[in-house]
Structures are given as C-alpha cells and as structure tokens.
Symmetry: C2
Subunit: 238 residues, 2 copies
DNA sequence: ACAAAAGTGTTGTACTTACACCCATGA
DNA sequence: TCATGGGTGTAAGTACAACACTTTTGT
C-alpha cells in the first residue's frame, strides 16, 4: 500500500463547530410562513435567521434542534418531529469559524405568537415568499436552506399525507385543499381534490361532525392520520 | 428577553470532527454492489467500511468526499457527481471523539478492480445484500448509511433517468431493465418496460447500432441523457 | 329566491398491466 | 428447424382532468 498523503489527524487543526438550523413551516393568513428569529449576537446581529444553534458534546443532532427550538421560540416538540434536510458546510458560511450546520424542517399548525428566548431577540412568523424574493434577507446561507426546505415540503405534499399536519383540529376537505394551493402556489379543482383524498384509504377519518357554515352547504369534518405515511399514488403537482 | 441557559461558546468544548462517508453503487455479476475499503487504522482496523475521511479546514464538504474517494480508491470524479444523503452524528458513533459525518452516494458503471490507497488496506466491490443481511459487518454506523443510500437509489430509479448511469457505453433496453430488476429485486415485464422507456422523451437516444446478438434478435443500442433528469411520470416500483 | 360552498356525475384521454404474438438472429 | 431474446399489438382496468350539475345551508 502506498500513502501519498501524510496522515491527517483532526486534532492538529482548529476545531469545527457543528450546529443545527431549523425550518418550521406553518400557514397563516393564506400564506406559507416560516418561524424566524432576530439574532441578538454578532455576526448578523439584528438580522433575521432560522432558529438553531450549536450541538453540544454529548447531544444527538435531532436533540440539539429540538432543544434550540424550545429555547429560542418556546415550541416544545416530540422526537421524530423534525425531518433532516441535509448538511450545509461551505468553508466561508460563518465568518467566525468553520461551522457545519445540519438543517431540519417540520410543519406545525398555526400557533400562538411565538415567544423569544435564548439568543433570540424576537421570534416571529414571516412569509416564505418575502425571503425567497429577497425582500427579507436572512443571515448566513439561511435563505438557501429555506429554499431547499420548501422544495422538500412541496415534494412531501405530493408523496405523503403530510398536509394534514398543517391543521390543528378537525378540518374540511377544502381546508386541506387550501394547504396544497398555498404551498404549491396553484389552484386545484375542488371536486377532483375531494375524490382524490376521500378515496385514499388511511388518510382522512370522518368525524361525523359538520361545520355550521357561514356560506354554502355545511362540510364534513375530518381528522388526519396519527402518523404521516407515503401515498400509493402521488397527489400530482403539475 | 430572558436567558435561562448560559451562553454556549463552541470554543469551550472539545472539538468536533467532521467527516464524510461515501457510498458508490455499481452492478456486477447481476448484483448490486458497493465500493468498500478495508481499514488500516484503529478503531475497526481490518474491518470493511465505506470510503471517506475527515474534512479539512478550508475544504468544501463535497470536495472532501471526492478527494477521499480518489485517495482511497483512485476513482476520480467530476463536481456534482455525488448526491448528499444526510448527516450522521450520534454521540457514540466513533469511540475516539465526537464525529459528525456527512454521507454521499453515487452510481458508477462497472469498473476495473479498484486500487487501494491512503488509509485503506484494500478496496473492493462487494454485494450490498451481504451487508444488509449482516453477513458482512461494516465499521461504525456504515451499514445504516448504506441502507439509507439504497433507499435513495431505489427511489431515484423511480423518479429520474438515473438508471442509465450504471451503463458504461451504449446499452440495450434489456440492460436497463436489468438495472431496475437488480436494484428493486423484482422482475419487470420486458414489453411494457420497453414502451415505457422509449416513450419517455429525453431519456434514451438511439445510436442506430445494434448488437450482434448471441441469442435472439439483435437489439438496438441506446445512450442515456448527459444529465440525470426527473421523469414526468415515475417508473412504478410497486 | 339567490349566493355560496360541498359534493357527485360524466366524459374523454392517458397510462398501466397482462399477455399474446410476431421478428430476427445464431446454433 | 428450434431456441432465444427483441419488440409490437391488443384489450381490460385504472386514474385523471375538465366541467356540468345537484345538494344544503345562510341571508
């Protein structure tokens, strides 16, 4: 065996830091929004950023993300609440030192105004559009992470029953359709959507309740599955 | 704002190391195989493992993976050859120190017997089945990484034109079908598969050549697209 | 009665599946 | 001639998109 390179010992080099960044999606006012925090530390002090922070020595990666989310925004979550998006580690992504960040994403029903804590000055829920269009710049490479998370979300709506997790209680089929329309930025045929989701077994459970509607015929109310599951046939996006 | 937690400075703690692990799939002898190296260092000295190694201070994550692949197995690759699978960072995954590893995967046509180099004693191409069944144990959490990469590969065959990248030159449609059958572990109808891939525009380019067949009617030879692209309609796996 | 939203019917097209069958070659 | 794999034909079944239409409520 030949060894053309000298042995590399990670102890010889300045340390890496490992962090997490978290994208939490919700729908409010018929727009897709994400939970953001205003930084209270340099670099990017006062800039908006994804919640997140450094992994501690004996901490699991997902646990870090859940802890930071709780510290910075008071949102408490279950294990497996977050889905891993990937690792972001360009050498220059943090001016202080080399940081590799593991990004996660999740969906929550519309929630109470978040409370800030930890390293965050404020926590707020802001439209994803505003970030992607550049009107709302984010710290570090967080706009790229948010953009990648959005694609993961759009794809998950095609392939899984995830959409129901945007709902906090029993919902109408048109509420579910609205989720698709908001996330995909495209209108869907109400009749065809109705059939599609009703025919998919294991997705909706009819509560027997109906809305006392403000306008139009009352709608049946449904609940989603207890766990997000893959769909046999996708809900076609195009 | 309240700060219930003391500020955390990553410099206060023992450093993390960031590494990469790489899954390279190929098909040989009608079996799905992966490139593995035999470790020449503790821990897990002499055990089989995925190729990979530590990220250097000024190195991009994908660049690390490509460099390690070249050092350990002499396989030279282009940028964007690798697809990121995710980050693996359980606190106890490496007994020496805290290591977070970013995993990548890729497909190559069957290749010459790989040459070992760097930290690897040997490099070889071994059946994925043998790892997943437990007959061939791997170091660290590499069996889990390989299993996750296999699922990503199976899914990519459904949704993209990736299958052609298993072929080194012009190929028959039945060669392409064999890729699906080997990766999915399931036989496909030859006639229907033929129509499906021929009708998908942007996938196959007819070279005009045919095989001088050993048995049966000669087959047209095709080449794949220059870039892997998503399919409008998936090749259904189930 | 009218507006509005829920939900069902209908029809054409596209795709999938199973499997029969023909085609072109080597032995 | 036969065996072998390449490739096409065909028909049933399924799914989807477009859109008309009926149902059930509030005003």
């Amino acid at each position: 065996m030949t060894t053309s390179e000298p042995a590399y010992d990670p102890h010889d080099f300045p340390p890496f830091a490992v962090a997490t960044d978290i994208v939490v999606f919700t729908i409010r006012a018929d727009r897709l929004q994400a939970l953001l925090v205003q930084r209270n530390e340099d670099p990017y002090r006062l800039a908006w950023a994804l919640p997140g922070g450094f992994v501690r020595p004996d901490e699991d990666l997902e646990q870090t993300a859940r802890r930071e989310l709780a510290e910075e925004t008071r949102i408490e979550t279950e294990p497996n609440f977050l889905t891993q998006l990937g690792a972001y580690g360009a050498p220059d992504r943090d001016p202080r030192m080399r940081v590799v960040s593991v990004a996660w994403w999740a969906v929550v029903p519309d929630l109470a105004e978040p409370e800030a804590g930890g390293d965050a000055l404020y926590a707020d829920i802001l439209p994803v559009d505003d970030v992607l269009s550049g009107r709302l710049p984010l710290a570090f490479d967080h706009a790229k992470i948010l953009s990648d998370a959005l694609e993961a979300l759009r794809s998950a709506l095609e392939e899984t029953t995830l959409a129901t997790t945007f709902q906090s209680g029993p919902f109408r089929i048109s509420d579910l359709r609205r989720v698709y329309e908001v996330v995909w930025g495209r209108e869907l045929d109400p009749g065809n959507f109705q059939r599609k989701v009703r025919q998919t077994s294991g997705w909706l459970a009819d509560t027997g309740e109906t809305t006392s509607s403000k306008a139009g015929r009352p709608a049946s109310l449904f609940t989603g599955p207890s766990k997000v599951t893959p769909l046999d046939r996708p809900v076609r996006r195009s």
